[in-house]
Symmetry: C2
Subunit: 250 residues, 2 copies
């Protein structure tokens, strides 16, 4: 059986082109400006379209370019520092950054297998799923699904609020009755699912940063949040000197 062969050249052609393009972005283009189309750019730099596209993808990974639905490829503004770590620990919906998160709705569903493992839930066990969006200056930064087992919100009545943001707030309010004992977080690379991509104004499959937060209460995992952050516009900040959404150099 054959293998998917890779180029073994240490510095492929698109890599050099990327450096040249990066310099051109600095000297000739302003933030928000739309790049010429691929045909024009390929002709200008004397490269094949495929090579150009690879270089553009690199620059997108590095946050220099943004591909936007229906607009094209634009020069990206510097990434925004978004506070994610919370040394004081608080339940979702409380704390300083609470107003940046907007509850969208809440329903009940079987969580993905990885989340079910963290919650120690059975394979077909439904949890509450609260959907929230994090906004900054009118732009979506992140879409979150918060998985809350029924046992973590025992006082919740089904008739309190049937759906929408009101239901989401009711579930979060019930969760806050538990005493939060700790939380931990993990960040990893992912690709935007179609529904998240739409909410974040990205193309499906765009690289995203996935932040998984485990909330501990009553000696077990009481809730798990899976937040999908735009990797093009966000740098995630952790630590004791930041706070809220802040601009960080470079």
């Amino acid at each position: 059986m054959g293998t998917t062969q890779l180029e073994s050249v240490p510095e492929p052609k698109y890599w050099h082109l990327k450096t040249v393009l990066s310099d051109a972005l600095d000297s000739e283009f302003a933030v928000g400006e739309i790049l010429p189309n691929e045909r024009e750019l390929a002709a200008r730099f004397g490269v094949a379209r495929a090579t150009l596209r690879q270089a553009l993808e690199q620059l997108e990974l590095e946050g220099r370019l943004q591909r936007r639905r229906g607009v094209g490829t634009t020069v990206a503004p510097p990434r925004v520092g978004v506070s994610v770590g919370d040394p004081g620990h608080s339940w979702p919906g409380t704390g300083d950054a609470a107003d940046a998160w907007q509850p969208v709705d809440s329903h009940q569903a079987v969580p993905p297998a990885a989340v079910a493992r963290l919650l120690d839930a059975g394979p077909d066990e439904e949890t509450h799923v609260v959907r929230r969006t994090r906004m900054s200056h009118g732009q979506p930064l992140a879409a979150e699904l918060l998985y809350i087992p029924a046992g973590s919100v025992p006082g919740l009545s089904a008739i309190d609020a049937p759906g929408g943001p009101a239901r989401a707030r009711t579930v979060l309010r019930e969760l806050c009755r538990l005493e939060l004992e700790g939380q931990d977080q993990a960040v990893e690379l992912g690709s935007a699912r179609a529904d998240d991509a739409k909410e974040l104004d990205r193309l499906p499959g765009s690289p995203v940063l996935i932040v998984t937060t485990r909330y501990y209460a009553q000696g077990r995992t009481a809730a798990v949040a899976v937040a999908t952050y735009r990797a093009d516009t966000c740098r995630l900040t952790f630590g004791d000197t930041g706070g809220g959404v802040q601009l960080l150099a470079g």
Copy 2:
């Protein structure tokens, strides 16, 4: 001036293929197994090579596949949780995870503009640059450059150790004499520079997670570390319940 057009179809063909391939990985392949070559795969699923390649790239972003120099595309093991946040705060080279970081060398150089801004350094001001590698089970996880202004290590003598790991350890030992007042961290997406890619056994331009740590002492930024983590094998963990390198559920 034209624009770089993007497909506006919400679920492109490669997206569906990705789901099909993902199921095939679960049911037919073992971790570490080498995939058939692109021609065979494209024929099997009845898609164009370009479509197949996009789907493979998605699965690589999601950590399902690894492209390895000289080997091909293999089924990736689950990502490893790597502790990055340090609630207790410690200088590099001290603390629990110290033995996972191996000092490589130290030289003097002008830091990149973004680092110089964080250090409040002049445009042509050289700093010490300590290079370290983080290993786990014989595999490289991260490559780090630690920028230390001369003012943070005033007792350092040029003749103590001229270069190599011994020099790196000498610089770190001097840095530890300062009282650490705090630190903060940021995580963002990047693409592997050629030198980091080589050290991490990746192709140049592979997506990586870049962790920037600012160390505060004497009321200012005393050092800045820029660590490049493999995005294919690592999930970065922050918080008070982890510690060291640990396996987290998928």
